[in-house]
């Protein structure tokens, strides 16, 4: 079948191309809602190195999506099923290394076509069925939620059992979602949020305390922490975490930084801290995420607050409008209603 994909051919330039998926081997999906991620925005704006842009473009952007099954000759899904597609695509099995850390895995909208297309063709093992309880606009950013779920799974794998309090540095989307999922998975744990914008900190009403990073009480301590800041600000954030974390705490690093970040290793050693990285997610994280959203309706209800705008896309110009509207957003997600 001929399938139209809308590829970024250069920063700010999108054009249509065609792929030829085999309808006998793949599940064919129609995207319903998509959500723009910061990584997409970096490609769209050209805020990546020339080498990265040259290596990865042209490609269709967007790896966050909820879709309807249109056709499935593999017999796993029925037309009309609502699913979330997993952008990570492993090419090799590995009993030890998770699928999202394998160097051989492909990732949609990072060198391979994302979901900005007439149809998405995908193998059935990359799909998770969505229960009807979850709002489709919230479901459009299931991938981002699953990144938080994945980070918390790794946190549970690495951290010691005392989890009386956890600090989350970062008052943006990743901080908000990680905090919410942590509350769902560890409801007894006290959650403290550390940010730079009072207005955004106000959105964390479900947390046990919020602090501006310039006014953190000297004696405040947390057992563990997540860094959800990214960029150059990762350095002061990690530094502050190290100051306020209890000995033998675990620090989950989730913020993406373009440049190397200096870390106070003396205090990491002295406190016996455990720093771990977390990036992307795999199909098991998607399954767990969907289960949590289904069983805890309060979580998707809070996540609805993240929907900054919903932009209906019928033309390539509308795609540009969606990305341009997203640029000025400092909190929340730009959701695309796909009618192209």
């Amino acid at each position: 079948m001929l399938n139209q994909v809308y590829r970024l051919i250069a920063p700010g330039m999108i054009d249509v191309a065609c792929t030829t998926p085999d309808i006998r081997e793949k599940v064919i999906l129609r995207p319903l809602y998509l959500s723009i991620c910061k990584a997409d925005q970096r490609y769209y704006l050209g805020n990546r190195s020339k080498e990265a842009l040259k290596a990865k473009l042209p490609m269709a952007l967007i790896h966050e999506c909820v879709a309807k099954v249109i056709s499935d000759c593999t017999g796993n899904f029925r037309p009309g099923d609502i699913v979330v597609p997993v952008p990570n695509t492993p090419t090799q099995d590995d009993d030890v290394i998770a699928e999202n850390y394998r160097t051989t895995s492909h990732f949609r909208s990072s060198g391979y076509d994302g979901f900005l297309s007439d149809y998405v063709d995908i193998t059935p093992d990359r799909l998770v069925k969505l229960p009807s309880s979850v709002d489709l606009k919230v479901a459009s950013f299931t991938e981002l939620i699953s990144v938080a779920t994945h980070a918390i799974s790794r946190f549970d794998m690495f951290s010691h059992s005392r989890k009386d309090s956890v600090g989350i540095w970062g008052d943006g989307n990743v901080g908000y979602i990680t905090a919410l999922m942590l509350k769902a998975i560890h409801p007894e744990t006290k959650l403290y949020i550390f940010g730079t914008v009072y207005e955004k900190l106000g959105y964390f009403a479900f947390a046990d305390g919020t602090f501006h990073v310039d006014h953190v009480p000297e004696d405040l301590r947390v057992d563990h922490a997540f860094e959800c800041v990214g960029g150059e600000a990762s350095r002061p954030a990690v530094s502050q975490i190290i100051d306020h974390i209890n000995p033998m705490g675990s620090i989950g690093l989730m913020g993406v930084s373009e440049n190397p970040i200096a870390i106070n290793t003396r205090m990491v050693l002295e406190k016996g801290l455990n720093l771990f990285g977390s990036s992307r997610s795999g199909v098991e994280d998607f399954r767990r995420t969907v289960e949590i959203l289904d069983k805890n309706p309060i979580i998707p209800a809070y996540l609805e607050n993240l929907i900054g705008s919903v932009i209906t896309v019928r033309t390539i110009d509308d795609i540009h409008k969606a990305f341009k509207s997203d640029i000025s957003r400092n909190f929340g997600k730009t959701v695309i209603k796909w009618e192209k």
């Binding site: 079948m1 001929l2 139209q4 994909v5 590829r7 249509v16 191309a17 065609c18 792929t19 030829t20 998926p21 309808i23 006998r24 064919i28 129609r30 042209p58 490609m59 269709a60 249109i70 056709s71 000759c73 037309p79 009309g80 952008p87 695509t89 492909h106 990732f107 949609r108 391979y112 076509d113 007439d118 149809y119 063709d121 019928r314 009618e339 192209k340």
Partner: protein, 238 residues
């Protein structure tokens, strides 16, 4: 019920040195007509697909469908007519004979040589046909349209903002379409080759569905080159 009628009636005489009707030429790894059928095959608004082609090509068309189209949705092949109206009448007759037809039966007619049709265009055709009775797929005209009555001198230049280029699908409530065609005289049938034009002459509204610039009709060798260009870069699949 919604039935897609894929018109593969043209003999392709304009296709360079090739004697093969253009809908049977390979685009990528499959014939053009298969790409087109697949778009209707996967669309869940379409219940069945009917292909209308010249009689000598029926066996070949059936063989291609068997080779490329998976089991699941019924794809039938029958003979087209000598003209577009004839093909349309054959489609209506075939559908009435083989399916249970009622006032909500919709026929989505589409050129086999337009394989770049999209999901949205099909969906909006079905919705518009059900809501308004008839629809045509169009894009705004980009060139200035010039009218000449004698082919030598311009007689009028219509306002471009009001001009559109017709594509396909054209979709209709089947029973209404049948009665509209039945109301034509033989002379009218010979002149009125476009079903939507028949509707407008009979003062029946035809809703316009937004087409796509790339929903091209593969008519000339140049079109095949454009189609090939659109297929470049498919190695980006994950």
């Amino acid at each position: 019920m919604v039935i897609a009628a894929v018109f593969a009636g043209g003999i392709g005489s304009r296709m360079g040195n090739s004697d093969t009707p253009k809908q049977y030429l390979e685009l990528g790894s499959k014939p053009v007509i298969i790409h087109t059928i697949e778009k209707f095959f996967v669309n869940d608004r379409i219940d069945e697909v009917l292909v209308l082609c010249p009689k000598p090509w029926i066996a070949h068309t059936r063989a291609l469908i068997e080779k490329y189209i998976p089991a699941g949705k019924k794809v039938s092949v029958t003979e087209g007519g000598a003209t577009r109206n004839g093909t349309l009448e054959n489609a209506i007759a075939y559908i009435e004979k083989n399916y249970e037809v009622d006032e909500n039966t919709v026929i989505v007619t589409h050129d086999a040589v337009r394989p770049f049709i999209t999901h949205r265009i099909i969906e909006e055709n079905v919705e518009a046909a059900l809501k308004y009775g008839a629809c045509d797929t169009v894009i705004p005209a980009t060139d200035t349209i010039v009218e000449s009555e004698n082919g030598e001198v311009i007689s009028a230049i219509p306002n471009r903002k009001m001009m559109y280029q017709g594509q396909t699908p054209q979709s209709f409530r089947l029973l209404e379409l049948k009665s509209v065609i039945a109301s034509l005289t033989e002379d009218e049938k010979a002149v009125l080759t476009d079903a939507c034009k028949i509707y407008t002459i009979k003062n029946k509204p035809v809703y316009m569905v937004d087409g796509e610039v790339f929903n091209i009709k593969i008519t000339f060798p140049y079109d095949m080159k454009v189609a090939d260009t659109l297929l470049k870069g498919k190695e980006k699949d994950a």
